[in-house]
Symmetry: C2
Subunit: 265 residues, 2 copies
Amino acid sequence: MYTQRVSLEPIRYVLYGITERKTMANCRRCAIHGGHAFCVRRVPVFAALDDKELSHVASHIHQRTYQKGDILFLEGEPLHALIIIHTGSVKAYKTTPDGREQILYLFQTGDFLGEQNLFENHNASYTVEALENVITCAFSRDSFQALLLEHPVIAIKTIEELSKRIAQLENTLKSLGVRSVDGRIAALLMDYAERFGAIVPEGVLIQLPLSREGIANQLGITRETVSRKLSRMENGGVIRTVGSKRILILDRQTLETTANQMNAI
Amino acid sequence: MYTQRVSLEPIRYVLYGITERKTMANCRRCAIHGGHAFCVRRVPVFAALDDKELSHVASHIHQRTYQKGDILFLEGEPLHALIIIHTGSVKAYKTTPDGREQILYLFQTGDFLGEQNLFENHNASYTVEALENVITCAFSRDSFQALLLEHPVIAIKTIEELSKRIAQLENTLKSLGVRSVDGRIAALLMDYAERFGAIVPEGVLIQLPLSREGIANQLGITRETVSRKLSRMENGGVIRTVGSKRILILDRQTLETTANQMNAI
DNA sequence: GAAAAACTGTGATTCAAGTCAAATCATCTA
DNA sequence: TAGATGATTTGACTTGAATCACAGTTTTTC
C-alpha cells in the first residue's frame, strides 16, 4: 500500500530535502506559541533579514484560519495586505463571464499572494479559495511599504519573486496556446509530480491537489476530457490511478515526450 | 481616405492626449544629440528621479538600432541588461516544440523588457523580434542593481510595473483558457483598439501591429480561422477591413458583448 | 513598374474536444 | 456498515476549429 507514504509532508521531504520541512515544523510550533518569526522566515522575500528585524516584521502579522472551501478573498475586493500561506494550500482563479473558473495558481505553504495590491489601490485580481484547512499570516500594506523603503534588499527579493511568477505565467500561457490537450495534461502531471509527488519504488506518486474538474479548470478543458485522457494514459501504461485522488507515474519518459512534442496522439 | 490619420503617432495622440507624445519628440531629439535624459524619464520606473539622477542613469545607457525582422535576443540567451524600447515596437514570443510561436507581449515605445534577468543569472525566457525599425536603450544589470539599492523608490516602481505585467498575463491566460475563439478575437480587437486605435468619425480605426498569422500566434489559433472570423464580423457589420493592415471597428457594443460572453456564435 | 515573394481568403474535409446522458465508483455520514 | 451523496468514467453524438489545397491579393525587390 502507498497510503503510508502519501501525506504531503513526507512527499516534499523526499524530493527537496529536509531543510524546508524542518523550518516548517518549527513554524508550526511557533505559531502555536503565538510567535511568527519562523513563519516569516519561510517566505523567501524576508530571508535576508536578521532575527531582530524578523521579529519586528512578525509583530505586525495577523493570523487567520480557514476551512476547506472557504473564500479568502473575492476577485474585485479591495485588499490591503500581503498574505502568506502558513499551512495548507489554496487555489487562485478568475471567473469567466460564462461562469467557468480559470485557475491561475495553486499556492502552498510558504507562498505569498496579494503582492499586486501593495502599492496602488488595486483590487484583488482573482478569487482565492482554501483547498484544505488553511492558516494564513497577513501583513498590512503599510508595514510592508515601510519595510521596503528601509530594506532595499527586500525590494530586490520581491522583484525576484515576481519575476519568477511572471516566468511561470509565461510558460502556462505558452502551454495553453498550444493546441494539443495531451501535451497540456502531460505537462500538468510533470508539474504536479515536482510539487506534490513522492518517489516510490514504481515511480512518482502524485497526491492530486484538485479534482478532475479542478484540473480541467486549470487547463481550460472539460472534466470529461480529463477523464478520457487519463484513462488512455493508464491503458498505455504511462500512469496508474490510485483511487481518484492519487496518480502514480510509471513512465516518466513518455510523459515528458508527450509534454514536449505537444501534438501527441 | 484614412491614410493621413493613421500613423502611430497621431493615433496615440488622439486617444491619450499629447503629453506622452511631446516627451517622445524631445526624446528623439535628445537621442540625436547624444543625451538620454528624456528617454529614461519616459520609463515609468525612473519617473521619480530628479534631473541629476536621471542624467546619471542616462550616462550608463547604450543605444542600438534594429531593422524590421531583426532579432533583439533569443529565448535562452544570457541577457545582462534592462532594455527600453526607445522607438518602434517589438513582439516577444516563445517557440513551442512543434515550431509554432506563441506571442506573449507586444512592446511599444517606452516599455521595458528583460527585467527577469536583472538579478539572478536567468536567461531570456522569450525571443524578441523587431516589428518595424527599432531603437533601444540598454541599461546594464550592474548599474540597475546599484541604482535600486540607492533608490528604494525605483524598486517600488519596478514592483508596481511587474505587478501590472502579471495582471495583464493573468488576463491573457483567462482568455486563452476560455473556449470560444470568437471571444478571444473580440477581446484582442478591443485591446488593439486601445493600444493601436484612432478615433475616426465612423468608429475606431486600428493600425494592426501584426499580420493575420501574427494574430493567430497571439491567440493560439490558425491564420485561416482568423481570416474566417474577421470575414464573418465584417459581414455582420461589426468591423470593416481597410486594406489588410487596418481594421475599422463599427459596432463596439457588439464586439464588447462578444468578448464578454465568451460563447458567441 | 514588372516580376517575385509573401500574405490573405475560401472551400472541402477531417478530427479532436465539447455536450448530453447514464452508469459506476468513491467518500462521507448516520 | 449501509445508504446517500457527490465525483468520475464511459458512451453516443455534435460541433467547431484544424488541415489541406488553391486562388486571389498585397507588398517587396530589383
